[in-house]
Symmetry: C2
Subunit: 337 residues, 2 copies
C-alpha cells in the first residue's frame, strides 16, 4: 500500500475538492490509502465512501493569503498542512499532497520533514505545457531567490531522475534557461552552471535554451534560479491569460466570429485544456526527504486526483532513494550536508 497524506483544507475551495479528489483516487488506484487532515465535520459532509480513507481532525488552516508563512507554520501546530506534514515526517504516510499556499507548503516540508541527505537546496518544479503535449519540468520557480551553480547541478540531477522515472523519458535532456544559446551568455552564475552541467556525467546537458523556445524545445528539463524561474512561469501565465482574453474579444467582435465559434467551440476548449495546470498536475517540491506535491491553489477535484496520482508514481518509482544514491558524495564548500 502507498500511503498518502492529504491537506484536506488546502486550496481556494477547501475541503470539498480535496475529499472528492481523494475518493476518486482510491477508486482509481487500488494500491493507495489516503489520510485526510482537516475539519472533520466539513470533510464528512462530502465523504460518501471512506474505503482506504482515514480522516484526522485538524483545528486550523494556513490561509491562502498568509503573509508570514514561517511564523504560521511554527505556531499553528494544529493546521491541516502542518499535521499532514508531521504525519509524513513520523513515517505514517509516504508522501504529502497539498493545494495550500506555495511558500507555506515549501516552508512546512522544509522545516518539518527536512531536506534529504546530500541535497543543499529545495526547488519548486511544475510541469509546464509543451507543443508536443509531453510537458517539461521547469525549475526552480521560487523556492530560492538565488542558487549557486552547485545547487543547480544537484537539482538538475534530481530533475533528471524524475523525468526518467516519472515522465518516462530516456536519458532526459537538461537545458539551462538563458538569454542566448552560445556558451558564455548570461550572468556569472549561468556561465558557471553551464560549465558544471557540461562536465557532469549524471545529466544529459544540451546547453542554453532561450525562453522563446519554451513550448517547442525538445529539452525535458528547463533549469534556472528561483527568481528567474518564477518570472518566467508568471510571464507564461500572464501571456496565456492576455492572449486568451484578446482571442475572446476578437471572436465576440463580429457575427462571423460568433458563428465560427459555434463550429469550433470544442476545438477552442481543447486548446484551453492544453494550457490548463489542473490537467498537468501539481508542482513537485524537490529536495525534501519525502515526495511532496503542491497542487494549484485553484485545483478542482480532478486536479487533486492528478496530484495524488503524481505522489503515488513518485513513491512507486522510489525517486528519493535513486537521487540520494547519485548525490550522496556531493559536498559544497561552506555548506553543511
Amino acid at each position: 500500500m502507498i500511503r498518502i497524506a492529504l491537506d484536506g483544507m488546502g486550496g481556494d475551495i477547501g475541503a470539498k475538492v480535496n475529499v472528492l479528489g481523494a475518493m476518486k483516487a482510491v477508486e482509481t488506484f487500488k494500491d493507495i490509502e489516503i489520510t485526510i487532515f482537516g475539519d472533520e465535520t466539513e470533510i464528512k459532509q462530502y465523504l460518501t465512501n471512506s474505503e482506504r480513507i482515514t480522516v484526522i481532525h485538524s483545528g486550523s488552516v494556513i490561509s491562502m493569503g498568509e503573509f508570514d508563512p514561517i511564523k504560521a507554520i511554527r505556531t499553528q501546530k494544529d493546521a491541516s498542512l502542518v499535521m499532514a506534514t508531521k504525519y509524513v515526517k513520523d513515517g505514517f504516510s509516504d508522501a504529502i499532497v497539498s493545494a495550500g499556499p506555495t511558500q507555506a507548503v515549501v516552508i512546512a516540508v522544509h522545516l518539518i520533514i527536512k531536506r534529504m541527505e546530500g541535497m543543499h537546496r529545495v526547488a519548486i518544479a511544475p510541469i509546464v505545457p509543451s507543443l508536443d503535449r509531453k510537458g517539461k519540468i521547469l525549475l526552480d520557480v521560487g523556492a530560492n531567490i538565488e542558487l549557486r551553480s552547485e545547487h543547480l547541478l544537484e537539482l538538475a540531477i534530481y530533475a533528471s531522475v524524475v523525468a526518467e522515472s516519472f515522465l518516462n523519458r530516456k536519458n532526459p535532456k537538461v537545458g539551462l534557461l538563458n538569454i542566448g544559446t552560445e556558451a558564455g551568455k548570461g550572468r556569472e552564475v549561468d556561465k558557471e552552471t553551464f560549465k558544471l552541467l557540461s562536465e557532469s556525467k549524471d545529466v544529459n546537458f544540451v546547453g542554453n535554451i532561450e525562453p522563446k523556445e519554451l513550448f517547442t524545445t525538445d529539452s525535458d528539463i528547463l533549469i534556472t534560479d528561483g527568481f528567474t524561474g518564477n518570472m518566467i512561469l508568471k510571464t507564461l501565465e500572464g501571456t496565456a491569460k492576455g492572449m486568451g482574453l484578446m482571442l475572446k474579444e476578437e471572436i465576440k467582435s463580429s457575427i462571423g466570429g460568433k458563428i465560427g465559434y459555434l463550429f469550433m467551440r470544442k476545438n477552442l476548449k481543447r486548446f484551453a485544456k492544453r494550457l490548463d495546470a489542473s490537467e498537468i498536475g501539481g508542482a513537485m517540491i524537490f529536495g525534501i526527504n519525502a515526495p511532496v506535491i503542491k497542487a494549484h491553489g485553484s485545483s478542482d477535484a480532478k486536479a487533486i486526483l492528478n496530484a495524488i496520482k503524481q505522489a503515488r508514481t513518485f513513491v512507486q518509482a522510489d525517486i528519493i532513494n535513486k537521487v540520494k544514491d547519485k548525490i550522496k558524495d556531493f559536498n559544497i564548500e561552506g555548506e553543511s550536508n
Copy 2:
C-alpha cells in the same frame, strides 16, 4: 525638417523593406528627410521616388548572425550601421533607425554617439502589447546583464518622459517587475530599487508588478534589469508562438474547426495582429545622446515606416533634452558621468 539616418541594409530582408519604408515615410510625413546608408546599386533598384531621400553608399553590412559585434563595429568602418551612426554623431541627422542585430546597434550607438550626459547606462526598451491596446514600455530587455538600483531609477525617469511625450500618458505609472506585489519581495537589487523609486519625485511609482499581469496591469512602464527583462520578453514570445501553434493544430483537427475558421478568419487575423511587433514599432534604445530606434529584424516595409515615425516623434518631443534636464544632477558613487 527632422533628419533621420536609416541603416538601409539592416534586418533579415535588407535593402528592399528599408527603402520601401523610407519612401512611405517621406510621403506620410512632410517634415522629415531621410538619409539611407547601404549598397547604392541595390538601394536604387527599389528607390522610385527620392524626394527628401538621400542615399550614401556603404561598403559592408554587419551580419545578423554576427558573434563579435564589438569587433565588427570597431573594424567595419564602412558598414551601413556604422556610417549611419557616425552621421548622427556628426550632427547631420537627428536620429537613427536600424533593423540590424540588436547587440550591434546598441554597441554602435554606445561607442560612436555615446551616452547622454548624466545617464550611466543604456537600455533596450520595446513597446509590448497590452489588453487595452495601448501598449506599455518594457525595459531593460538586454543592454545590461545587471543594473544597480540607481541605474534603474535613471532609466525609469527616461521611460516616464517617453511615456508622457511619446505615448501621451499623463503622469505615467511605473511598475517594478517582481515575483510578488509586497514591498520586500525579490533580490537585494529589487528591494533597493523599490525604495529608490518610492522616494523619487520624478516617477509615479505604483509598486511591484508580477509578470502574470503583463497584459492586464495599468502600468505604462515595466522595469527590471536586462537579464530578467530579456527572459520575460523571450517567454512572452515563446508563449505566443506556442499558443499560436496549438491553436492552429486544434482548429485544423476537425471539420467543425475548419468550417469555424472560415467564419472567423478575419477575427483570428486581428488577434494575431495584436501581438505583432511590426504593428507596435521598434524598440527604443534609451540613454544615448540621440534618439535610436531598433526595428525588429523581421521588419517589413510597414514596420520600418513605423520605426521612422517613432524616431520622428522622439525628435519632435525633444525627449533627450527633457531627460537631461531631469537627471543632470544625478551622481552614482564610483561611476563617472
